[in-house]
C-alpha cells in the first residue's frame, strides 16, 4: 500500500511553547497527534510521553489483556492493539505524574490512526480529531470528549437540556494521564486510493472551519502542502493554540501516480510503501 504523508506543528501566535507532539511511522502506517496540557513543562512532557509510550507499546508483542470480551468480538486485532496501547500510555503517564510533583496534573489528548491492509484503525481520547476526506466530502471520524459535545449529544438523543455555560464547552471530560484508567474510543475505516486521512489538534479545528479544511485538501492535493496551508490559515485566524496537522493520502497505483504527478503541484511530502511490520 502506498502512502504519501505530510505533517507540521506550529506554536501558534499566542503561546510561548508548543505542547503538541506528533509521530509518523509511515512505513508501519502509524500516525499519532497529542495535545498536552498542565502548564509549565508538564504539558509538552505529557504529549511526548504519550507518543513514545504508544509507539513503544505497539512494538512490543504484548497481548492486549485489558480488553473486554465485547471489544474482542467486534474489532480487528490491530484496532484492539492500538486501543490497548493508548490505555497503557494513560497508566504510564498517570504513574509518572504521581511520582514527580513537578509533573502532577499533566495530561494529554491523543488521536491515533493505524493503517493496516487498507483499513485505518482510529483511536482517540480528548478533542484532537481525525477526519476522512473522500471525494468532496470531509467526514469527522471522532467525537470530542468535551462538555460541549456531551451537551449536544444529550440534546440530540433525548431533547435533554444540560445547563453548561458556553465558555465551558471546551472543557474536556476525558484525557490521558489524569485518572488511573481511561475509556478509549475506537473506529475502523476502510481506506480507498485517493482517500485522505487528517489528524489534528484543536489548535486547527478552533481556528479553521471544516469547509476550509475540505477545500484545502481538494485544492492543495499534496499532503505536505495541505498541512502548511492549514497551519498558515489557523495562524491567520488568530493562532490561539498550538497547531498540529498530519495528512496521509492513500495513493493510487503507480501508473496513476505517474499521471497525477504532471497534474498536481509538487510538495515536500514523504512517499512511502507501507507494510505493517508492527
Amino acid at each position: 500500500m502506498h502512502l504519501r504523508v505530510g505533517a507540521g506543528s506550529d506554536r501558534g501566535r499566542v503561546r510561548t511553547m508548543n505542547e503538541d507532539a506528533y509521530m509518523l511511522r509511515a512505513r508501519d502506517g502509524l500516525f499519532l497527534v497529542c495535545d498536552g496540557m498542565g502548564g509549565a513543562p508538564a504539558g509538552e512532557v505529557a504529549s511526548q510521553m504519550a507518543v513514545d509510550a504508544i509507539d513503544r507499546q505497539l512494538h512490543t508483542n504484548g497481548s492486549a489483556e485489558s480488553e473486554s470480551a465485547a471489544e474482542r468480538a467486534e474489532y480487528l486485532p490491530q484496532t484492539r492493539k492500538l486501543a490497548a496501547a493508548v490505555r497503557w500510555s494513560n497508566a504510564f503517564i498517570y504513574d509518572q505524574a504521581q511520582k514527580d510533583p513537578r509533573q502532577s496534573g499533566m495530561g494529554t489528548t491523543v488521536v491515533g490512526a493505524w493503517i493496516h491492509e487498507h483499513v485505518a484503525s482510529v483511536a482517540h481520547v480528548g478533542d484532537s480529531r481525525a477526519y476522512l476526506c473522500r471525494g468532496d466530502r470531509l467526514e469527522a471520524l471522532t467525537r470530542d470528549h468535551s462538555l460541549g459535545e456531551v451537551v449536544r449529544r444529550a440534546a440530540a438523543r433525548a431533547g435533554q437540556e444540560i445547563d453548561v455555560p458556553r465558555a465551558r464547552h471546551d472543557v474536556l471530560v476525558r484525557v490521558l494521564g489524569r485518572e488511573p484508567d481511561v475509556d478509549v474510543d475506537v473506529s475502523e475505516v476502510p481506506m480507498q486510493p485517493g482517500d485522505y486521512l487528517l489528524l489534528c489538534s484543536d489548535g486547527l479545528t478552533r481556528m479553521v472551519p471544516e469547509s476550509v479544511m475540505a477545500s484545502a485538501i481538494r485544492e492543495q492535493r499534496e499532503p505536505q502542502r495541505i498541512c502548511d496551508y492549514l497551519i498558515t490559515a489557523a495562524n491567520g485566524n488568530g493562532g490561539a493554540d498550538n497547531i498540529t496537522v498530519v495528512v496521509v493520502e492513500v495513493a493510487d497505483r503507480w501508473w496513476r501516480r505517474l499521471m497525477e504527478r504532471r497534474r498536481r503541484p509538487a510538495g515536500r511530502g514523504e512517499d512511502v510503501e507501507a507494510y505493517a511490520a508492527v
Binding site: E19, G126, A158, I162, P190, R206, T232, N237
Partner: protein, 250 residues
C-alpha cells in the same frame, strides 16, 4: 465586524477592519497598501452587498486568488485566504464581534474537568448520563435487538456456509485478518471491507474486481436484502437475520 489580516511568509503584518470600499493595492491611496511589484496599483476592493462581503478584482495584472482559486468576484466566508502577489489576507467574519460578550476564558486552552468549579458540572453530567442510559434501555426494548446481517455462500468453495456480520468491520480477502477467507495465490489481500454503521452495512471495494449483482462494485454501497456479492470465486448473498426476540419485547 469583520477584519482582514495581512500576512507575508507566515508573518502577521497588520489587521484591517473591513468596511465598504476598502481597497487593496500598491499605491498609497489604498486602504490596504502592499508595496510589492507583483501587486497592481489598485489591485482589488471589498464591497458590502446586503450582509455579504464581496471581494472584487480590479483587473489586476497578476490576479486575485481565494483559497487557491483565481477569482474576479467572490463572496467572502469566514476563514477565506486571499492571495495577492505573495501576500495573504485572511478573512475573519466575526473578529471581536460584540465586545460585551465575555471572552472565552478557555480560548485555546486545553482544560480538563477536575477543578472544584467543575465538580458541580460533573454531577450534572452524571445525571444526564444516567438518564440517557435509561432512555437507551427503553428504546432497546422497543426495538428488540439491533438487526444483524449475514452473508450466505451460494457458490464457490468457502470455509463456512454463512458468515455472521457481527464485527465493526468484516473483511473479505486472502489476509489472515479476513472474516471471509479467500484461498489462492492471486486473490487480493483484502477484496471488500464491510463496515457496520447505524444505517446498515456499507460494502467498500478494496482490491481485485468484486462485483455486486453482476455489476462491478466500484463505490461504497449500502447492502440491501438479497444483494449478491461476487468476489474471488465466491458468491455471497446478503440477508438480514430475523431479529432475535428478547423476553422483554412484550
Amino acid at each position: 465586524m469583520s477584519k482582514l489580516t495581512l500576512q507575508f511568509e507566515g508573518r502577521l503584518l497588520k489587521d484591517y477592519i473591513v468596511g465598504a470600499g476598502l481597497t487593496i493595492g500598491r499605491l498609497p491611496d489604498n486602504g490596504v497598501i502592499i508595496d510589492n511589484p507583483a501587486v497592481s496599483g489598485h489591485h482589488a476592493r471589498v464591497v458590502c452587498e446586503g450582509d455579504q462581503i464581496v471581494l472584487e478584482d480590479l483587473h489586476s495584472t497578476n490576479g486575485t486568488w481565494v483559497n487557491t482559486q483565481q477569482v474576479t468576484r467572490h463572496a467572502l466566508t469566514h476563514g477565506d485566504v486571499i492571495l495577492i502577489g505573495k501576500h495573504h489576507l485572511v478573512f475573519d467574519r466575526h473578529a471581536a464581534a460584540d465586545q460585551n460578550v465575555p471572552a472565552m476564558p478557555s480560548l485555546g486552552d486545553t482544560v480538563y474537568l477536575d477543578t472544584n468549579e467543575h465538580r458541580a458540572l460533573r454531577a450534572t453530567l452524571e445525571d444526564a448520563r444516567v438518564q440517557a442510559e435509561r432512555i437507551a434501555k427503553e428504546r432497546a426494548v422497543t426495538k428488540a435487538t439491533a438487526r444483524a446481517g449475514v452473508l450466505r455462500v451460494i457458490a464457490g468453495d468457502a470455509d463456512a456456509q454463512e458468515y455472521d456480520l457481527t464485527a465493526q468491520t468484516s473483511l473479505i480477502g486472502r489476509s489472515s485478518n479476513a472474516h471471509v477467507r479467500l484461498r489462492g495465490w492471486f486473490k487480493p489481500a483484502i477484496a471488500v471491507a464491510i463496515a457496520r454503521s447505524s444505517d446498515g452495512y456499507l460494502a467498500t471495494p478494496m482490491g481485485g474486481k468484486p462485483s455486486l449483482n453482476h455489476e462491478p462494485l466500484t463505490a461504497r454501497h449500502l447492502l440491501q436484502e438479497g444483494d449478491v456479492l461476487t468476489v474471488g470465486g465466491l458468491a455471497l448473498e446478503f440477508h438480514w437475520r430475523a431479529p432475535q426476540r428478547t423476553e422483554s419485547a412484550a
